[in-house]
Amino acid sequence: MLRSVLQTSAILSSSRNPAFRRWLSQEARGKIQAAVEASPVVLFMKGNPQMPQCGFSRAAVQVLEMQGVPQEKLKTYDILEDPELRSGIKEFSEWPTIPQIYINGEFVGGCDILLGMHQSGELQSLLEQNSIIPKISGESSP
């Protein structure tokens, strides 16, 4: 597959050129893959939901709260506690910043995208489609 081809060639070139971007080992990639699939909603952030260590991470937590994502369906990883995860997740997602949100193993985006989707209503639909929050029908319930 493309990914393994890329990886093989990258390992070769990285050994020649130490400045070359470090590529994830198969093992590290597997660990992160398991992490993004650990829960229906996965948030990689700085700090934890009780004590976010960055305004962008705080905003992401607040958006998920406002959407009513139940705690048992949300898993957060504090990348400040794990330097390997911190650099690994950026490479894995090919995304340069934290926070990062995954829904059912699929990369959604960072803080800007999450906020934008929250405001436009896209996030609610996405969460509903993935059965993370209940669908609220247009009609009023009794």
């Binding site: 962008f56 090919e94 340069p96 959604v108 985006g109 803080c111 800007d112 989707m117």
Partner: protein, 87 residues
Amino acid sequence: MPIQIAELEQAVRDAFPVEHLQIEDQSSGCGENYFILLVSQAFEGKTTLARHRLINETLKAQITQMHAFSQKTFTPKQYQAYLAKGN
């Protein structure tokens, strides 16, 4: 070395047809926290994620040196609608 607005602007202009570009240093001068608003035809038919990836790729070298980076991306049509809403 702090990143300069001019450097970011040049990189964006080299990579995209620019309808409107706004770059703000939100770090109160240390050059490590930037916001970019880009309106470009290049975004037509692309998801927000794909658009942000394009910018991330264009500014890869600079973003890794920053503490924080945020962005907004619009097609010209979307930007008109955005302005009309009083933004």
